[in-house]
Point group: C2
Chain length 123, copies 2
């Protein structure tokens, strides 16, 4: 069974996690049977490992990690592959695939552009 | 005249700025006369101040800062208002408005949810 891990940086302010819960809710609204959990790099729980373990407990055998990042900085290029490798070592038979950051997806950028235009009326 | 400042965190990898240029291009494709520039908090140029000065040189008298952030962490809650206040002090008559982070916009979150579902086929 497949799962989705919404990977975020994390922040000290607990409200920072809200968009991740809203993305999760939007996924579940479209795919009620989906296994989807947020997982954060730092400052916030659940951490990446906790999210992987949670998805595995729910029956996930393949996890697609979707970085909710604008682009691939060092956290995505270095930290994430290492965390994914460690998680696959920890869970025999688990496959983890890493998607490109959402900020590289054209429809996401188009939605951001629309938002920026609407945020600056009379442009 | 109004301008849009696409405010990002910045990263060491120059490619990290690409989504900001793509958002800028998407805005200009819809609004060819728009004044729009990226501006970064750290690690990357142009910095916020450089972006403000660039927009002012182009004739902007009102700048809407659109945080290309998932949510309002301390950079948005504390650093950004101070940088905006300093920029208004530096430019007599300039008005700077701060929009909510793009990650709080429903259409942006919906696009991210779609991307996540498509990134994990057979969900």
């Amino acid at each position: 069974m497949k799962g989705i891990l919404l990977f975020g940086h994390g922040a000290r302010n607990p409200e920072w996690a809200q968009p991740f819960h809203r993305i999760r809710d939007a996924i579940l609204a479209r795919e009620p049977a989906a296994l989807v959990e947020p997982g954060f790099l730092e400052l916030m729980r659940p951490g990446f490992d906790e999210a992987v373990d949670c998805l595995v407990r729910q029956g996930a055998t393949e996890i697609t990690v979707v970085p909710i990042f604008m682009a691939a900085g060092s956290h995505i290029r270095k930290d994430l592959p290492q965390m994914a490798a460690n998680a696959m070592d920890r869970h025999a038979g688990l496959l983890i695939a890493l998607a490109a950051p959402v900020g590289e997806a054209e429809p996401v950028l188009a939605a951001m552009a629309d938002y920026a235009i609407n945020a600056a009326p009379e442009i």
